[in-house]
């Protein structure tokens, strides 16, 4: 709030005069505003509430509901204007409290309620409904509408997640505007006209947007409801705490809402540097997995082929005994990127105490931690201007809200996006230049692009940011690093926004779970396969599902003598463990997390951990004491104190972030890498080069265990260019054999113009045949044959 009362301006602290500053009067009070600002926004800052339905500060104004009418003094007396469309002007006199304005507000509420069913008692929105609230605060109290109201079929599903009740709709254009303007999925529109206007999808085309949940949140009435929350609670029964989503590494701010010790809903919170209030559907709805019946609730020990429940002390004793008897240097630790910084820090302490050198928070599916050694960008700095070079996965699939921010920056013409990928991504149509390079050739393609004169001119015109991530799991990470180096070589001032996707991967790598001396997950699994690992600790990690080289993962897990799985679910890897320790899930523990920019924010506990599960850091702390190490840690504050001391850059921020919505960006020094040399063998013309990319919905455990999301995965398939499909000779949707020297499997084939010729795009970790069988991490790229069967 920056309401400035002119009478109390402190002359000594007066900043230099802002040329854009204007002063307006609202209801007799002087309010400072900026040129171009809307009256309603200025009034909001001045705590003068103007009722509204269609206005949303993160979307363009449309002035449709006409609820925000105010009086502005004009040359011909007071004029009624809509405050969401009228910019402020110096000396403007605005009144929101005259009888005329009051009459207009009451009239508009009455008109909006005329056809509203007033089924508030059975409406999910009742209690937090802008229409209900403002009908009380700005309405006349009763309606004189005695005609029959509009009738439509009660809720109709417009997607797998969202239902639409057109009777409740007040046609404010928020959802349709969001879909078009913010998400770029204009799949819902107004149909019909006049009094029959209604929001509708196109025939037989559902509102299948990854961001559909946001429309439910911004709906000012109960017209849009989401299946996971329908009829689950009344708003006044909900308790909430503000937290950070860790479904991916964007770190969107959320409120976590629960009732009766059960998570019921996540809502986006507007954090200016991060998510602007938006969430993706996976982040919004995968809270269901926390409530899942399949959660691990007790420690279990493998006996024979089945697990036996044991007590925590028995379990920790067993683990302690195993690591004590392990050969020196034969304990390994994989994972930690799903938890909090505190979890990762305490497990790093365990590793330190045991002299563990083999540790890695990634699963061979990201980039080397040295990606953090480049000059780092933030989301804001990336979207502020200049050129953004994207050598990353499809951001819409992996980091959806980062996609929204970049899309916005490109649509508003603040930045120009140059994209190098192996298929057309969600960002491609917003890119200034997009090159689809065959896997293994991205660095060369990028270098060629940079030598074009138009691109060179663009690069010189402003800041350059590289968004770097692992787009193709069938291609060595070195290709991405080489591409980054190519840009840095050309533009030394370029900054990097690392697009590694796992929730707290940056935090885990920063507080002590980064591999050293090349002992990364691949090396650990290789060592385990060769019998060199006596105890393998999996921290919420599932190598059998996530490591791209399936054979390596299988051999590694099988070769490890003793496997400890600390997890929320009995994942495929945990099922192979000798002992399973139940961990508290998201929403069940306090702590901090670090997003892809290095921004540290807090995550909060809202409900009691299921069963006897507990936070990872507690498990680690207890294991330390069982092992006879005095960890001097008994509370989260103790962990944070130790972390602030031990991790350079964390300083005093960790406790400060707990109360700040936007968090603090910290910089933890990371060793730089030496330049990598990459090469890719030429592709035989009868083969396809494999591009294995993630989709938003896959067999990730949190998606699988969320009933709303579990069926949204597109399924295993192979996508080729339409011309290539002709060459393969298989019908659209028909089965083909995909094979190379490693293995062979059968997948349905589809044509997609977004895939370049000679490339086979296969979504990763989907239900169906597992493409990972064909991938060997020793290969720089993977070529396959596709044959019709």
């Amino acid at each position: 709030m920056t309401t400035i009362d002119t009478n109390t301006t402190d002359a000594e602290n007066t900043p230099p005069v802002d040329p854009n500053a204007v002063s307006i009067t609202i209801n007799g009070r002087t309010v400072a505003a900026r040129k171009g600002e809307l009256i309603i926004a200025a009034a909001d800052r001045a705590d003068e509430y103007i009722p509204r339905f269609c206005y949303h500060p993160r979307m363009s104004s449309v002035g449709m509901c006409r609820q925000c009418l105010v009086e502005v003094e004009g040359p011909r007396g007071p004029m009624m204007v809509v405050s969401c469309m009228t910019p402020v002007a110096d000396g403007q006199i605005v009144r929101t409290d005259t009888p005329q304005v009051k009459r207009a507000h009451e009239g508009m509420i009455e008109l909006l309620l005329a056809n509203h069913p007033l089924d508030c008692p059975v409406c999910d929105k009742g209690g937090e409904c802008p229409l209900q609230d403002q009908a009380f605060s700005h309405g006349a109290g009763e309606s004189r509408f005695v005609e029959e109201k509009r009738h439509y079929e009660k809720p109709i599903p417009i997607s797998d997640l969202v239902l639409l009740d057109r009777e409740r709709c007040i046609l404010c254009d928020r959802c349709t505007r969001f879909a078009d303007e913010v998400a770029g999925d204009p799949l819902i529109i107004f149909t019909q006209r006049g009094n029959n206007t209604q929001v509708m999808t196109f025939p037989d085309e559902p509102f299948a947007s990854y961001f559909s949940g946001n429309t439910v949140q911004i709906c000012p009435v109960g017209a849009l409801t989401a299946t996971p929350y329908r009829f689950k609670a009344r708003p006044w029964d909900l308790e909430q705490r503000e937290s950070t989503c860790t479904s991916c590494s964007v770190g969107c701010r959320t409120v976590v809402q629960s009732s009766r010790d059960e998570l019921l809903r996540f809502q986006g919170v507007d954090s200016d540097p991060v998510n602007w209030g938006w969430l993706c559907d996976r982040g919004r709805f995968n809270f269901q997995s926390t409530n899942s019946e399949d959660r691990l609730v007790t420690p279990q020990v493998k006996s024979g082929d089945s697990f036996t429940t044991v007590t925590w002390s028995e379990a920790l004793d067993t683990v302690a005994r195993t690591v004590r008897h392990a050969r020196p240097g034969s304990v390994a630790l994989i994972g930690g990127a799903r938890g909090t910084n505190e979890d990762a820090f305490m497990w790093a302490k365990v590793a330190d105490a045991l002299g563990v050198t083999m540790r890695d928070a990634q699963l061979d599916d990201g980039l080397p931690a040295s990606i953090y050694s480049y000059a780092q960008a933030t989301i804001d700095s990336t979207c502020a201007g200049g050129t953004v070079i994207v050598v990353a996965p499809d951001l819409k699939e992996e980091l959806p809200v980062l996609f929204l921010r970049l899309r916005d920056a490109a649509e508003k013409k603040r930045v120009r996006i140059i994209e190098v990928s192996s298929h057309q991504t969600g960002l491609t149509k917003y890119a200034w230049r997009s090159v689809q390079a065959e896997p293994g050739t991205s660095a060369a393609a990028l270098a060629a692009l940079l030598s074009e004169s138009a691109v060179a001119t663009q690069i010189q015109s402003g800041a350059v940011t590289i968004v770097a991530g692992r787009g193709n799991l069938a291609e060595s990470a070195n290709h991405v690093m080489a591409a980054v180096d190519a840009v840095i070589g050309a533009v030394p001032s370029a900054t990097v926004l690392p697009a590694l996707r796992r929730g707290n991967v940056r935090g885990a790598l920063s507080v002590g779970l980064a591999p050293s001396d090349g002992n990364d997950t691949a090396a650990i699994l290789e060592a385990a396969a060769n019998g060199k690992v006596d105890c393998l600790i999996l921290l919420g990690a599932d190598p059998l599902s996530d490591v791209a080289d399936a054979d390596l993962a299988r051999r590694g897990i099988a070769g490890a003598k003793f496997v400890v799985a600390v997890d929320t679910f009995l994942s495929p890897s945990a099922a192979h463990a000798d002992i399973v320790l139940p961990a508290a899930a998201y929403g069940e523990k306090d702590g901090t997390t670090m997003n892809l920019e290095g921004r540290v924010t807090n995550v909060v506990q809202k409900i009691t951990p299921r069963g006897t599960s507990r936070a990872d850091w507690m498990i680690a702390a207890e294991l330390l004491s069982v092992l006879g190490h005095d960890s001097s840690v008994s509370t989260l504050a103790d962990v944070q104190r130790d972390m602030a001391k031990a991790i350079p850059g964390f300083g005093a921020t960790t406790t400060a972030v707990a109360v700040k919505r936007d968090g603090v960006v910290v910089s933890v020094p990371v060793a730089a890498h030496s330049n990598v040399v990459t090469s890719a063998p030429p592709r035989n013309s009868y083969e396809f080069r494999l591009n294995v990319s993630r989709k938003l919905y896959d067999r990730a455990i949190s998606t699988l265990t969320s009933p709303a999301l579990e069926n949204l995965a597109p399924g295993a398939q192979v996508l080729v260019n339409p011309l290539d499909l002709d060459r393969v000779g298989a019908p659209e949707g028909g089965n083909v054999r995909v094979s190379n020297n490693n293995s062979s499997l059968v997948l349905p084939v589809h044509s997609s113009p977004s895939v370049p010729r000679g490339v086979a795009l296969v979504p990763f970790n989907q239900p169906g045949a597992d493409i990972r069988e064909l991938i060997r991490r020793s290969d720089s790229v993977v070529d396959v044959r596709i044959e019709s069967i």
Binding site: M64, C65, T86, L111, R193
Partner: protein, 465 residues
């Protein structure tokens, strides 16, 4: 030349007056290029191209050619509103004539399409516009056909296209067929429709498409009749033009009269001097009310204008006098109601039209228009209550706050409330739905009251005793 002359062109009566835009209407083949050229066609264009564009612009400015679409904004001034140095800039011809009672542009397009095309060329040359879009209402099939045929002729003859008449001036005219929505007659909704979007008015500001219009470029939107004036103006000069009519409203104007008169039709009248009495009772115009009935009321400017009664018959057809008297000239359409008219039903008919044509974008129009229609139709059906009549005004207050314009009435002791009204809506469709209700209820309340059923409530306790 194939065609003879019409004795009376259908729907149009020429009379013995100066004619600017309807001079060719008497010919049966008035829509052909042959006839057009034989009657001084494209001479105005030649004159224009022979002079600097700024000269032509000044000529139009000096003639004060008022916009004939309804708002009456001088065309020359409108052209001057385009920002300098922004290219391309467009001319959009508003041929989406859909105001109830209005059918003057339809005749201009059906019977003299070349005159319109020449007007487009002159306007584009004068205002430096690079392309022209001719938007014709979807229902006007004949106008579509005729304009399309004329455009083909004009292209073939070199009047439209590259280097027109050997000059450096080039212009393409694109014909666009509307899909039939009243609100698209509103210029910003027309632009939206032309762009391929839902025909919904754009939000103001920006107030004028001259700054940001079609495809975000400077755009001049002119009415068909406005442009049809230009060929004559360029041939005869501004002084000849201003010699006709009054100083504030020079030239002539096409008026469409419908309803209970002996001879309904379109008339080209002298701007500003002709009174409504002349028009309705004059021998060269409508020749009186049908069957010798008394005049009850008339709508002076299209269905959305507040109504007049015989009290206002002596007002001239002049915006500066009709406005203070409580109505508007709008699109030049007069609807006449004689003494046999069922006023509540007439109001319902008009209100139903506007409620149906609401685009649904803003609340007062979408909900208020339909609400008005519902109440009114109940009253007309004899199922209304006393409270309903007051409620009509209450709903109107939410659409148009404050006093709504209406005519004075001696019998009722009413003083006029001058035009314009204030509105809570984005465009004029919402107020248009209210205007007939308000006029009818203010001027003829007794007719509504007569419709109210005075039923006695049956006492429930009496049953069974």
């Amino acid at each position: 030349m194939s065609g003879g002359t019409w004795k009376h062109a259908p729907g149009f009566y020429e009379g013995d007056r100066p004619r600017i835009v309807t001079s060719r209407f008497e010919y049966e083949d008035s829509f052909t290029l042959e006839r057009y050229l034989a009657t001084d066609g494209y001479k105005g264009l030649r004159t224009a191209l022979g002079r600097p564009a700024t000269d032509v612009h000044d000529e139009v400015k000096n003639a004060t050619v008022l916009g004939r679409g309804g708002a009456g904004f001088p065309a020359g001034n409108k052209w001057g509103l385009t920002p300098q140095g922004v290219w391309p800039r467009y001319l959009v011809v508003n041929g989406d004539e859909s105001e109830p009672g209005t059918y003057k542009d339809r005749l201009l397009m059906e019977r003299d399409p070349h005159q319109l095309i020449e007007g487009c060329l002159i306007a584009s040359y004068a205002a430096g516009l690079s392309q022209c879009f001719l938007y014709i209402r979807g229902e006007m099939a004949l106008a579509q056909e005729r304009v399309a045929a004329a455009l083909n002729e004009a292209y073939a003859a070199g009047y439209v296209g590259k280097n027109i008449l050997g000059s450096k001036f080039s212009l393409d005219i694109v014909l666009h067929w509307g899909a039939g929505a009243y609100v698209v007659g509103e210029e910003t909704a027309l632009i939206e429709s032309l762009e391929g979007n839902r025909g919904m008015p754009r939000l103001k500001p920006p107030y004028f498409p001259a700054a940001i219009g079609l495809y975000g470029q400077p755009t001049i939107v002119n009415n068909v009749e406005t442009l049809a004036n230009l060929p004559w103006l360029l041939q005869n000069g501004a002084p000849a033009y201003t010699a006709i009519g009054t100083a504030t409203s020079p030239g002539t104007r096409m008026v469409a009269v419908s309803g209970h008169v002996n001879r309904p039709g379109v008339f080209e009248i002298i701007n500003g001097t002709t009174t409504f009495r002349d028009l309705l009772y004059g021998d060269e115009f409508c020749q009186g009310i049908r069957n010798g009935n008394d005049l009850k009321a008339f709508v002076p400017g299209g269905g959305s204008a507040p109504w007049f009664t015989p009290d206002q018959l002596d007002l001239p057809f002049e915006a500066s006098q009709v406005g203070p008297a409580g109505s508007m000239l709008g699109s030049g359409a007069i609807m006449v109601m004689d003494s046999t008219t069922d006023i509540p039903r007439a109001a319902l008919t008009l209100t139903r039209f506007y409620a149906h044509e609401s685009c649904g974008k803003c609340t007062p129009c979408r909900e208020g228009g339909t609400w008005l229609e519902r109440i009114l139709s109940r009253v007309v059906d004899g199922k209304g209550t006393d409270a309903d009549l007051d409620q009509l005004f209450e709903v109107g207050e939410s659409i148009c706050p404050g006093a709504f314009p209406h005519a004075s009435n001696e019998k009722l002791g009413l003083a006029a409330v001058p035009f314009p009204y204030r509105m809570n809506t984005i465009c004029f469709v919402g107020p248009s739905a209210y205007a007939p209700v308000h006029s009818a209820l203010t001027l003829f309340r007794s007719e509504f009251e007569a419709r109210i059923t005075k039923r006695k409530l049956i006492s429930v306790t009496a049953v069974g005793q």
